[in-house]
Symmetry: C2
Subunit: 271 residues, 2 copies
């Protein structure tokens, strides 16, 4: 196989398995080339990804060394990706009775979800989360795509426990917006103590669910290293959690005029 | 940019967006090369993917033409991927009181899920499903990864309806194993009539849930083109659905000896 062929094959392997370290010897054996030839191949891939801002390719030296690809979405791409979702949210047919906004179709498009997952991964990977944690149901797709981009397991907290989970830890929490007591539960074996976890959800109003998730992580003696939400509402102003990263602000839903006011979060800049 | 660089960039774009058609002009403009040069680049990628059985790269001619990548997992890789999951299922610590098998950690590993999603996509893509449909909660990760590999939206049927979904269609169905009446509901706007849908779930005993899903699809006037399950139990022998594709047979769980008997489905062959 010539260089161009090797580059196609290696790029595929790296992109298909973000954050997975491939030993150089594995590729060298597969293509029957020396490690120095292989290093030149990798340099070309790295250069290309850098120039086109397509993510990072990193070579790790040492015994457990190798090469890995890490998704990285530059600010300009975050801006255009988030703006595209905002535009979709403003479609008038989304407004439901009671001022709710229909979002199910957005969080069911694999392309949108993959993009959002890579944005969260880009922003949180330096904190080295070992698990992505969410609560069923609507948060699962966004959380799974984030977990995929980070190559860490997804842990889904349940609203109700099931017999197939074994012993579970169950906790009541106060849903912030409705001031209602709700329940969440998680299998004892789902999460080892002292893990570094990233909380991801699709939608946040007062933040009661995320607050509850964070408290549950405390019960598992885990360390919450970050919290990400796709959409945050402007109301209530007082939130129950701090330091969360939202991608989209939902400012207002006007049922009369059938308009949704929405914008990218302030940290997302055009340049 | 030289050929090797272009190939790295194009491969990344294709692999990141399975089943998405990229017009050749888009790449030609980006790299400032002629379409014939670009065609040579694509031929190299296609050749490499063919030789290493890494999926298919297809060029579509005509006005809406372009190039796309389709995941395709060869039989030998299906066998080793499924065997690896079987091996994990046989770990004795998975057996829960009542003879249940703990599988949550398997369906939370993005690498395993991505592999399973590509296997289902490989087997069902010729039937051209337009939606992947599952029911909450445990089926969502497998279904989402299948939807991603096929580049079609994921539709999640709920156990209970929520106010944020708008008008829903609710249906009772008989859970096959427990002979219990259960409920599923789906937003009216989630699925257009006459869609071709692929049903995906993580676990199947008698098949009551899949049977219910298929009936619900009938209510939406949709056409079920395929049904895939990750794990099927050997009991009961009589199933409520036909023509489903399972990857793994769970033959027996022996609580006494703490053993799980499990094997790849019969259609999966070693050679």
């Amino acid at each position: 196989m010539r260089r161009a062929h090797r580059i196609a094959a290696i790029t595929k392997q790296l992109v298909d398995h973000p954050h997975q370290v491939f030993p150089l010897g594995e590729f060298a054996d597969l293509f029957q080339v020396s490690k120095s030839t292989l290093s030149e191949d990798l340099a070309i891939i790295r250069e290309t990804f850098n120039t086109l801002e397509m993510g990072k390719v990193e070579t790790i030296s040492g015994a457990v060394g190798g090469v890995r690809y890490m998704p990285y979405v530059p600010m300009l791409d975050i801006y255009s990706e988030v703006s595209r979702i905002c535009k979709k949210l403003q479609e008038p047919h989304r407004i439901l009775p009671g001022g709710f906004v229909y979002t199910d179709d957005l969080i069911s498009s694999p392309a949108i979800l993959a993009g959002v997952g890579e944005i969260f991964a880009s922003r949180f990977q330096e904190l080295e989360p070992q698990y992505v944690v969410t609560v069923e149901t609507a948060g699962i797709p966004v959380a799974l795509m984030t977990a995929r981009a980070l190559n860490v397991p997804l842990v889904v907290v349940r609203r109700q426990s099931r017999v197939t989970e074994g012993p579970v830890l169950t906790m009541n929490f106060l849903s912030g917006s409705a001031q209602r007591v709700e329940t969440m539960s998680l299998s004892r074996r789902a999460l080892p103590t002292n893990s570094r976890v990233l909380l991801i959800d699709d939608f946040m109003k007062a933040g009661g669910t995320l607050r509850g998730l964070a408290d549950l992580m405390g019960e598992f003696e885990c360390d919450v290293v970050g919290k990400g939400v796709l959409i945050e509402t402007g109301w209530p102003e007082e939130k129950l959690i701090e330091d969360h990263l939202a991608l989209i602000y939902l400012q207002e839903v006007d049922v009369e005029s059938q308009t949704v006011k929405v914008k990218p979060a302030d940290w997302i800049r055009k340049e």
